[in-house]
Amino acid sequence: MLAGEHGYAAQKAMEILVALGKIYGAERLIEIRSAQISGVSYANLGEEGLEFLLKLAEDGKVRVPTTLNPCGMDLEEWAEMGVPEDFADKQLKVIEAYLKLGIEPTLTCTPYLAGNIPGLGDHVAWSESSAVIYANSVLGARTNREGGPSALAAAIAGRTPLYGLHLDENRAPTMLIRAPRISSELEASALGYRVGRMLGSGVPFFKGLGAVSRDQLKALGAGLASSGGIALFHVEGITPEAHRYSGMHAEEEIEVTEKDLREEIELLSESLEDPDLIFIGCPHASIEELTELYLLLGGRRIGRRLWVFASRAVKAQAEKIGLLEKLEELGVKVYCDTCPVVAPLRRLGVKTIITNSSKAAYYLRNIHGVRVQLKPLQELVEDAVR
């Protein structure tokens, strides 16, 4: 493949994998079960990124099931979202290139809620930091924190260099975190954000969280991965590899209190009276979150823009059980394929946002210069019906 006998795409892919293997001292390449590719929004790729993908798509094909991160717009309802036509044209070309490479257009940061569900011990090559940390921690699969091009290279070659989190020795906790009980996705994401910021890297082992839900684990991971370079965590009694380390005495220990969480939320948040947009779904919402939203609304119609971002798979589930229709009747809009972080937000005229995700707050402020207030789902719903 490296010599080019399989074409340009295979050669470039192998060149990337061999270079990474060299940098990290990997002994060999191992086969992977799936890949998840980031770098889909035209807003980030630009014209040159698009050209590169088109060139790869001329003779390239992925060898393993491969899913795609969100792009810059809902593919069906981009006009309604307010996405300009010139952007939409370019975005569709990006998606076509990925389709030609044989990639499923799942367009979600939660591939594990859309059919790409690796098992315990499976080697995969995923990009998208919140999906990487979920795959490693909650599913017990094994992936390094890939970038878009390196995950794509692994998908085309069907292999990845054996180093880092693919190896047992790098999956052990490096820090014990004593945490308070968590009661919402917002608290979970704030805990993640704080610990990520304090650690920077490494593998935290959480104690004291109580009975956390799958959605809270999703929020915790997204927080850890956005403020730090963290790609794996364990939760005592909950995550699949935690029992291996239950007797372990971490050399260092950090305590996080409820007060710390409140401070962390304040740090990322400012007070907003009249937000342009209220949204949930960073990372993309699950069917459970949609149900909770519906229950909290209690039949009340919303009085301002409330958007939910979810995968098309989750939206289809909601439609099947009649939940989507009920939410839409109350004025809630469920968008797919995109999220506020990767959409051309300023061009949609959105400058102030209320949401329940620390990750979203961090990126919206830093990349888009948007003003953000963080609130738990319960309070955010009350703002929306006002």
């Binding site: 990474l20 040159e48 970038g147």
Partner: protein, 135 residues
């Protein structure tokens, strides 16, 4: 004075040019302007310098993985460095050099290379002609 260094090939190639050297890591996403090739990171010791057609010498890359695509953008616009010499290459720079087809070598003792030296990169070999010290 000529110094010959032996490194490790990240992306094969040969190039010769004037060194733009720094001891600080470089972030291509947000730190280099893809429209002009100018380093725009606030407070960076090379802030304001243009990297186009230089042999860019720095310890390693930092920041977002989108940085790989920025190297590609620079190359397509004719604003890329002629070659990259790193102390310890990491994935952002390695992937960027490969997709943008910029010769790249690492595991080089970059402390012996100064700004303005003439540097020739040929595979793993890095030849440095020291600029004459000003009197």
């Amino acid at each position: 004075m000529r110094i010959v260094l032996e490194g490790r090939v990240i992306r094969e190639g040969r190039a010769e040019g004037e060194a733009l050297a720094t001891r600080q890591p470089i972030s291509f996403y947000g730190g280099v302007d893809p429209e002009t090739g100018r380093i725009i990171e606030r407070g960076h010791e090379l802030e304001g310098e243009v990297i186009a057609d230089k042999i860019l010498v720095f310890p390693y890359g930092k920041g977002s993985t989108v940085g790989s695509y920025i190297l590609l953008r620079l190359r397509r616009r004719g604003l890329a460095p002629k070659a990259i010499v790193n102390q310890r290459c990491e994935p952002i720079i390695a992937v960027g050099a490969i997709i943008a087809e910029i010769p790249c070598v690492d595991e080089v003792d970059i402390s012996v290379i100064s700004r303005g030296d003439i540097v020739k990169v040929e595979g793993a070999r890095v030849e440095v002609w020291k600029r004459r010290q000003s009197p």
